[in-house]
Symmetry: C3
Subunit: 215 residues, 3 copies
């Protein structure tokens, strides 16, 4: 497959996943329809916007090509509509499903945007260091979620969830190593799978990094 | 009138309106004199700074021309002084006036910065899409207020107030359509009036978009 | 001493100071090891990143040269380890020391990044106004701390602490005046000392700007 097409498909999947995650947080916060769309869109395009600002891509890609924002808005509305007809979401069995869906969407967005970010830095016309590629990849991956949580008034996921940024960092490193040896396609797929698997396993098995509790 | 002069006057009015709105929030939060100035200035120049970062105008206009920041600081101080001599603001009849003044200032800033943002994108030397123009316009309009609310620890207005970003979006679209047919001046004036009127009407008649309440 | 070497040493000291301050806030918030590193790093490199985005340095220096991030991570880990073996930090005599250490680290970072920011704007290849130099200096100084506090869910220091941004503004002005008369080295050292001394004195003597309390 053409690498550009592949990256585009990845980005659309990531956009859908993050838009849904953002919209779910907004619904939880009882925001109105437009608030849901704004938060969904911010989550979806926020990481890419930060990436482009850092790499000096002006104006950022998401502002030039409306497809990302439109897809994000469409899926945010979809989440709103589904939630609208499931008022008692939290009290029903659906709630567990909701919680899991949120986790999967967020992990998917994190995985895809990490490797897409690494790839964007890798393909800049000016020379980029491995360090920059990793850094930009992780920022692209976690950026949307941090914006979402700060705007919604929550403590960012990245600070409280089991193994979150670490999954992104490991995936970014793997992506770069494999891209060097086996090409971009293989590197990106493997990197994304690794981020996703680590994140889901960490949530499922409640893997935690050490933390200091006051008592 | 010269279009540049017109835009400059609009920007100064918007700066005054948003600086006052930001300063009022800071006073509410019992911040000190400098905190009031910082929040007033952030609200006033924040939207324009985000706009210039996205459009690739480095350094942003507000950092090159001190007039915006100085006007913002002057009016933030004015708000502080007025509030200082009206200690019991909240308990007096003035409070209602205060609440309305805040609404008008915020709506005015939203209206003006939306159309100024659209116009800035429209006038870039590189080609810009209609989508980019709308997006940048809305970001310029709502950006200052979002920064204000996040920094003050409030849930951003955009997520909780009746018809806020929607007013900005409609105004941006109207501005672009009318600029194409009747020139920049007409487009900007009409767009700004529409944002302002929709926002004020929405607040007055308590227009709301649907939202999902947990009960 | 070579001015570049001097600036580099200043930046490393500022990075260590701000990373430690950020890590301490994260430990207070009971974040895990990675959260501590992320917040420490954000505090340390955040101001410089904002500075470079505004000045149009793409990609920002901290993304090109890994040394800043690595130093920030190392010292964040150090803070974590020290705190880990002092579980009962808050209840012990150490707590007072902790509180003071936090103050000194934060003041040191504020002082150094203010003058480094001024100097960076001063040395741009395009012409910069005095206003821009002051503005960028202050933003570089306070930016990391604002990001830290917003991400940690605290009200930004800048709004609540005795004489914070004012110290940075005064220091920036002094730096520019002295750089014009006595060269960069003298200006930067004097400016940094002034920011640091004002900030520490303000905290010690509880200097306050006027503020309006509701009662």
């Amino acid at each position: 497959m053409n690498i550009d097409t592949f990256v585009f498909i990845m980005e659309i999947i990531g956009t859908i996943a993050f838009a849904s995650a953002g919209a779910m947080v907004a619904v939880e916060k009882e925001m109105d329809l437009l608030g849901v769309c704004v938060l969904g869109m911010t989550t979806a395009v926020g990481g890419g916007m930060i990436r482009d600002l850092i790499l000096g891509v002006n104006p950022p890609v998401m502002f030039q090509n409306p497809v990302y924002a439109l897809v994000a808005i469409a899926f945010s509305m979809l989440v709103f509509i589904v939630a609208y007809y499931n008022h008692k979401l939290q009290e029903s069995k659906l709630y567990v499903a909701y919680d899991r869906l949120m986790l999967v969407c967020d992990a998917l967005g994190l995985a895809i945007f990490t490797v897409v970010g690494v790839n964007a830095a890798w393909n800049m016309e000016y020379e980029t260091t491995t360090f920059l590629q990793i850094f930009v990849g992780v920022l692209t991956g976690v950026g949307g979620g941090v914006l979402r949580d700060v705007m919604a008034g929550n403590t960012p996921y990245i600070f409280v969830k089991h193994i979150y940024a670490s999954a992104s960092i490991i995936g970014a490193v793997v992506t770069i190593v494999l891209m060097n040896f086996f090409g971009e396609l293989t590197g990106m797929i493997a990197g994304a799978v690794i981020v996703f698997v680590i994140r889901i396993f960490a949530a499922y098995f409640k893997w935690n990094l050490p933390r200091i509790r006051k008592d």
